[in-house]
């Protein structure tokens, strides 16, 4: 009797196990699209251009950004409401979620992949977490000499297991060395300029550049020679001209570094500035359709794609880098918030907020080759960011 029932049970067990194990897959063609209004993400894949699933319950995702673990399996989602969520892209679930502050703006993952840092507005500062467990490892309040807290912006990782970030109100850049994770060693650079509003680090991890909202110019830190201090570059690039009101802050993490030139959005102008990375002088200006928000180079650096602030946010333009001319003006639809290239740049994915669509374009023909329904899409983040400094 026992023998008879044992066999079907064994078969049933094998059958169930077969069902539970999905086919093996890698994660190099995966990505996350933020659904900012409903507080969820869509997990997507770029090979077949499909959605793999939705993960909900991530809080206020306005201005949300994503970093990836170095194995490209886990995404760290930074929400506006201070929520930090670790998501498993393969099992399509939340691994851990912590409310780490009242108001946050973004994060970064360390060179060794073991630490996740979050930049906070309220209370102003940086918190460092264990990337595996999301346990708090260190807390760095952004206190200036007067004992006032600043909003922290422009947080990036740098070689040497360091993080670099800027203090909006204080006008400072701080370098935090996390080689001993529980004891961050801070180097502070003061009086770097008025109201640094965002920053980026070049792909080689050498130069940290903060855009200044309070004045025309950029603050530059050479991480190979930090003893030299922070230098001001592109001083007064708009002197004598009336700056336009800014309806959306430019984002600098997408600044296009094209080898020897850097293309940067001009704050409050319908212009992209071309900067020579050798001497940090402006060598050209490209007139564009609106105030640039993201200025992003295709991975081969031949093209730079630009989107714009309200009320020009229905258009995306393509700049041909060698000739510095606009070779294409696309109209994906109202509310273009972000764009992201596939790892080698044959496609670009564009989020069109007011149409609840992500539209996919061929970057050679400029033809639309696909689209996916996504609720109020904002940031698009593909997993190859895992292996790029500053992303």
């Amino acid at each position: 009797m026992h023998k008879l029932t044992a066999i079907p049970f064994f078969l049933l067990l094998m059958f169930l196990q077969g069902c539970a194990s999905t086919p093996l897959r890698g994660t190099g063609d995966l990505g996350v699209v933020i659904e900012r209004a409903v507080g969820s993400i869509q997990v997507v894949e770029t090979t077949g251009q499909t959605r793999l699933g939705q993960i909900t319950g991530l809080g206020d995702l306005s201005h949300a950004s994503v970093n990836y673990s170095r194995d490209e399996r886990y995404a760290y989602i930074f929400g506006r409401d201070g929520g930090l969520t670790k998501v498993d892209l393969l099992e399509m679930r939340i691994v851990k979620r912590v409310m780490q502050s009242g108001n946050s703006i973004g994060g970064a993952i360390s060179q060794d992949g073991k630490l996740v840092a979050v930049a906070n507005y309220t209370p102003g500062g940086v918190k460092i977490f264990d990337a595996a467990t999301l346990e708090l490892v260190a807390d760095i309040p952004a206190l200036d000499d007067n004992g006032k807290l600043s909003k922290v912006i422009g947080l990036v990782d740098a070689p040497g297991n360091r993080f670099v970030f800027s203090l909006f109100e204080a006008g400072e850049i701080w370098l935090a060395d996390l080689r001993v994770p529980t004891q961050p060693a801070l180097t502070k650079f003061k009086n770097v300029g008025k109201e640094p509003y965002d920053a980026m680090i070049t792909a080689d991890g050498r130069y940290y550049l903060a855009g200044l909202f309070g004045e025309d110019g950029l603050a530059l830190l050479d991480l190979w020679n930090p003893q030299v201090g922070v230098k001001r570059v592109l001083n007064g690039y708009g002197k004598g001209e009336q700056k336009l009101p800014v309806y959306k802050m430019p984002h600098l993490e997408g600044w296009a570094a094209t080898g020897n030139e850097l293309l940067v959005p001009a704050v409050g102008r319908h212009e992209v500035l071309v900067v020579d990375q050798g001497n940090w002088k402006e060598v050209g200006r490209i007139s564009v359709y609106g105030q640039p928000v993201f200025v992003v180079a295709r991975p081969d650096n031949r093209q730079v794609w630009v989107n714009y602030a309200f009320p020009h946010n229905e258009v995306v333009q393509v700049i041909d880098v060698p000739s510095r001319t606009i070779v294409k003006t696309l109209q994906p639809g109202k509310g273009v918030l972000h764009l992201e290239f596939t790892p080698r740049g044959e496609q670009v994915w564009i989020s069109v907020r007011d149409e609840d669509r992500v539209k996919i374009y061929d970057t050679e023909t400029f033809e639309k080759i696909g689209e996916l329904p996504v609720d109020k899409p904002s940031g698009i983040f593909f997993t190859p960011r895992a292996h790029r400094t500053g992303l």
Partner: protein
């Protein structure tokens, strides 16, 4: 009186109200947070605005606030629309 009462004739049409709500949530939300609980800009929740003057808030929307990133919205909004937005923010967005 806490809220400025809007004359019926000053109310934006319901189609325009939908547009304005989208503008407040999405475009104001870029700096003030999608839940209007603050970000680069200050919180715009009913509690945060309770003590503020509706007229001053309207002026800030229309003309921006010098020395801060808050831009003037008067190229895109009429006086009555700005007043309606203030009223709506003070009551809480639907």
């Amino acid at each position: 009186m806490v809220f400025p009462s809007l004359a019926f004739a000053d109310l934006p049409s319901s189609a325009r109200q939908t547009e304005l709500l989208n503008l407040v949530r999405q475009d104001c939300g870029s700096c003030h947070g999608l839940r209007l609980e603050g970000g680069l800009g200050l919180p715009l929740t009913p509690v945060a605005l309770k003590e503020k003057s509706p007229e001053a808030l309207k002026q800030t929307i229309l003309y921006g606030r010098g020395g801060t990133p808050m831009p003037p919205w008067n190229p895109f909004l009429t006086d009555a629309e700005a007043a309606w937005i203030v009223d709506t923010l003070m009551k809480g967005l639907p």
